[in-house]
């Protein structure tokens, strides 16, 4: 005789389908699979994800630079920080820095050479750091400029996102290892 839980599972079976696949990537993989491509489907999907993310970052930052170049009134270099411009901006930057620092500590133990995805993500972070350094130079040259400030915060957010992806990827690897050893 079925329990109440079994009855629930049976009656509401279709409602349990709550997750959705990434249709665009899966369909692309299916088409390539049908055409006989033998490269790893997962690596290809992950690479496309990273490539799309990197492209989005570059577009956002490039647009920021273009706008700065177009409207920017280049002034002599003055050493300033966000907190010099506005106390709230300084506080906001400090909060981002704390999160970045916390997550950097977490990922510092990971070995990037063991995993292609993690290595690629670290490489994207390195590029972001370069962009961040360049943007800081702009801040010193231009002083207060909303586009530059937005770009600085964008780089923090993207960096946090990339660090989270690294942590997720590492957790996934650990979960696989744990699951292999897990017995009822």
């Amino acid at each position: 005789m079925p329990t109440d839980l079994e009855k629930y599972l049976n009656d509401r079976r279709k409602e349990l389908d709550v997750e959705s696949p990434d249709d665009q990537l899966i369909w692309e993989g299916i088409r390539q699979g049908l055409q006989g491509s033998r490269s790893s489907s997962r690596k290809r999907r992950q690479w496309i994800r990273i490539r799309n993310m990197a492209a989005a970052i570059i577009i956002v930052i490039s647009v920021g630079y273009m706008i700065v170049d177009l409207i920017g009134d280049r002034r002599p270099a003055v050493s300033i920080t966000l907190s010099d411009i506005d106390r709230n901006l300084g506080v906001r930057e400090q909060e981002y820095r704390k999160i970045v620092s916390f997550k950097e500590q977490e990922v510092s133990a990971f070995n990037s050479t063991d995993n292609m995805i993690i290595a690629e993500l670290f490489e994207e972070i390195r590029k972001l750091d370069t962009i961040y350094a360049e943007t800081l130079k702009d801040l010193n040259e231009l002083g207060y400029n909303e586009q530059v400030i937005q770009t600085i915060f964008d780089t923090y957010e993207k960096k946090i996102y990339l660090l989270e992806l690294i942590i997720l990827e590492n957790n996934k690897i650990k979960n696989h290892e744990n699951e292999e050893n897990l017995f009822l």
Partner: protein, 182 residues
């Protein structure tokens, strides 16, 4: 339902002719359900996406082997499940015999399951240990008999029943925990 079957027959005929739009139509019709089956088996989105992709490639490549075109959904589901089990085997998750004493756990199931959000139930299923989760999904959601499950996982019927009742108990506990937490 009858209409869906007729539509599927036509779409499958077109797929056999290599019509990409028809293939995509079938993909859209079944992808979400198949993805959720895979993710409940594997508890990992990327693995589930791999299985989904491989299963559709297999299905489209071997479509001419499908005798009864009305059964495309069941046939595809079996491909997905077989691929999930193969992945478990590759990862050396063995569904070996377990201690009969563990069977007592089934007695702990309480009656009176309240109205629970299906998303919570889905998450709780994903959190179950791999072996119990596999048997529970096959039995409770995909409605295979213990005899069929035993054959698929290469275990005894008794082990299938034991794993199932234990998984059901664990799921019950998890759901009670989630409800109490809310």
């Amino acid at each position: 339902m009858e209409e869906t079957i007729h539509i599927n027959r036509r779409v499958i005929e077109k797929c056999l002719e290599g019509d990409i739009k028809a293939q995509y139509q079938l993909y859209q019709q079944y992808a979400k359900a198949m993805f959720n089956i895979a993710i409940r088996f594997l508890n990992n989105k990327m693995d589930a996406e791999d299985i989904l992709q491989e299963s559709f490639v297999t299905a489209f490549s071997r479509l001419e082997e499908l005798q009864n075109r009305d059964l495309f959904g069941s046939w595809l589901k079996r491909i997905v499940i077989n691929n999930c089990i193969s992945l478990h085997r590759k990862r050396k998750i063995k569904f070996e015999e377990i201690d009969e004493q563990m069977h007592d756990a089934a007695d702990e199931i309480e009656s009176g399951i309240p109205e629970i959000d299906p998303a919570l139930v889905h998450t709780a299923i994903r959190e179950l240990p791999a072996k119990g989760r596999t048997v529970l999904v096959l039995r409770a959601l995909e409605e295979y008999s213990h005899k069929e499950i035993a054959g698929m996982l290469d275990i005894s019927v008794s082990t299938s029943k034991t794993q199932y009742s234990r998984a059901l108990t664990l799921l019950n506990r998890k759901l009670k925990g989630k409800i109490d937490a809310d």
